[in-house]
């Protein structure tokens, strides 16, 4: 019998519940009997076969998950091929290089994704916006992205595939088993990114 898809949400800070609801709808829409669980303590990482790092404050998420085994375990599972989706703060946390503005705080990063990310690149909350753009890989002409104090991707490594751009700015990428977005797919009216993560997890089972 095939193993069940078990998606974990890194549950230390941020919009954790919105991702749970999105994964549940993705299971429903694909008529799948999967599990979604919160990953808050290091030992919980063992039972999952896919991970979501939610939106929130990347400095808080990095600090709160920085126990001796937690970062290492997450990184090890990702290196071994566990599919992962990082949204907004999640993308920052996955990046291997970030540009800070304006503070010079040194942040804890996982560094699994070969991109250079600029935090708060579109401005402050006053400048947060919703905008439509195509995602060719999903056959979508229009996807409504929700950008809240969003980062942008300044440059990408040679193994990184671009999933979406807003004008000339890269806003979603894929590197093997890692998907990352500058916007919040968990706040959009379609769960296409969550379905895609589940598809990647199924391929590993």
């Amino acid at each position: 019998m095939m193993k069940k898809v078990n998606i974990g949400i890194l549950g230390v800070q941020g919009d954790i519940e919105e991702h749970i609801v999105s994964v549940e709808s993705a299971f429903r829409e694909t008529a799948m009997d999967g599990i979604v669980s919160i990953v808050k303590y290091p030992e919980q990482i063992d039972s999952i076969n896919g991970l979501i790092i939610p939106g929130g404050e990347s400095t808080s998420i990095g600090k709160l998950s920085n126990t001796p085994n937690f970062h290492n375990n997450i990184k090890k599972k990702i290196t071994q091929g566990m599919p992962v989706l990082g949204t907004c703060a999640g993308l920052i946390f996955l990046s291997n290089q970030i540009v800070q503005s304006p503070s010079n705080i040194s942040q804890k990063l996982l560094g699994a994704l070969e991109i250079e990310t600029e935090r708060n690149a579109f401005g402050r909350q006053h400048d947060s916006f919703q905008s439509e753009f195509p995602i060719p890989k999903f056959g979508l002409d229009k996807f409504m992205g929700v950008f809240i104090r969003a980062p942008r991707i300044r440059s990408i490594g040679s193994n990184v595939e671009i999933l979406a751009k807003l004008n000339d700015t890269i806003i979603a990428v894929k590197q093997g088993n890692i998907i990352a977005t500058c916007f919040h797919p968990e706040l959009s009216n379609t769960v296409i990114f969550h379905k895609y993560l589940i598809e990647l997890v199924r391929e590993t089972l």
């Binding site: 919105e18 404050e57 400095t59 703060a89 402050r124 947060s128 706040l187």
Partner: protein, 317 residues
């Protein structure tokens, strides 16, 4: 779970609503911002150094003030919005969101704060109210607002006026958690009652409750459907120790504001980190105990038990 999807703010400025490709200031963006703060701690700060300590400790945002609530109590007089210089200094020196308070009903202070680039405005009873009959009509702003409430009626009326986030009022600057606990318990009880009638689909009863709470029928129905406030709801007012923060999380708050509790203690550095830890891991007693060990109770702010000269929670209707 709160569905933010598909609810557009119909009161968008013309130039933005005409541009179909891109929107700012929608309900989704304003409430969505508050959702990103969940399970986190927002700390009151009065200078850049305190703001940097808060960021380093893992705070999800800071609240800039001229005086901490306990200092407002001590100094008396009229408390107003913070100076522009201190707000801009903090905005320019940290990466996490920055909030600031305006007086209840003071539209001009709110406009000035919006213009200064703060990420959220707190229409706060800690400052001296400017208008005793009306709060700010918050739909008119692109910047989201957080408001205080001591019961469900106040919370729903503030949401009706456009608040994107709520917090308990508690009794700021006292170091005493009892009022915040009273306020969240009162809200929880009233929400449970509404959920009960929602599940029975007793619409007359829901309508009666909406009249009793002086709010719209639609908002009461929405609250019943969700079984919680329709916006993110934080604890505030009197939180002093990691155990206080964990208690408020256990009572169903989405996160915690800490006012005087950190920088009026004698161990602010350790305390800031400890409260962040206890807020996130409130479900694990070992972690709360570890957080509580990081602080020294002898260094907690002394606090005020009763005999208050000023009840801040009675400000605002």
């Amino acid at each position: 779970m709160i569905s933010l999807v598909g609810k557009q703010n119909s009161l968008l400025p013309q130039q933005i609503s005409n541009n179909l490709d891109s929107h700012t200031g929608t309900i989704l963006l304003k409430r969505g911002f508050a959702h990103m703060l969940k399970h986190g701690v927002i700390m009151d700060v009065t200078n850049v150094n305190q703001a940097q300590i808060a960021e380093e400790a893992g705070a999800v945002a800071v609240m800039v003030l001229d005086k901490l609530p306990v200092e407002v109590r001590q100094s008396g007089g009229v408390a107003r919005t913070a100076g522009m210089k201190i707000i801009k200094d903090v905005v320019n020196n940290i990466s996490i969101p920055v909030m600031a308070k305006c007086r209840i009903g003071h539209i001009s202070e709110a406009l000035i704060l919006e213009n200064s680039g703060v990420d959220m405005i707190d229409e706060s009873e800690v400052l001296t109210p400017a208008d005793e009959s009306s709060h700010i009509w918050k739909w008119d702003f692109t910047t989201p607002f957080v408001d205080g409430a001591k019961n469900l009626g106040q919370a729903l009326r503030r949401i009706e006026e456009g608040a994107s986030m709520m917090r308990t009022k508690g009794e700021p600057g006292t170091g005493n958690i009892v009022e915040a606990v009273r306020h969240i318990r009162s809200m929880n009880q009233d929400i449970a009652k509404i959920s009960y009638f929602y599940n029975l689909q007793d619409k007359q009863e829901l309508f009666r409750i909406s009249k009793e709470l002086n709010t719209s029928y639609e908002l009461v129905v929405e609250t019943g459907r969700l079984g919680r406030l329709p916006v993110v709801n934080f604890a505030a007012g009197g939180i002093t120790t990691p155990a206080d923060a964990a208690l408020m999380m256990k009572l169903g708050c989405d996160g915690v504001f800490v006012g005087s509790g950190i920088y009026k203690s004698l161990d602010p550095l350790e305390r800031a980190s400890a409260i962040v830890l206890a807020t996130t891991f409130h479900d694990k007693v070992e972690v709360i105990a570890e957080a509580q060990e990081m602080i020294d109770e002898k260094k907690s702010m002394t606090g005020i038990g009763d005999d208050l000269d000023l009840n801040m929670q009675d400000r605002g209707i």
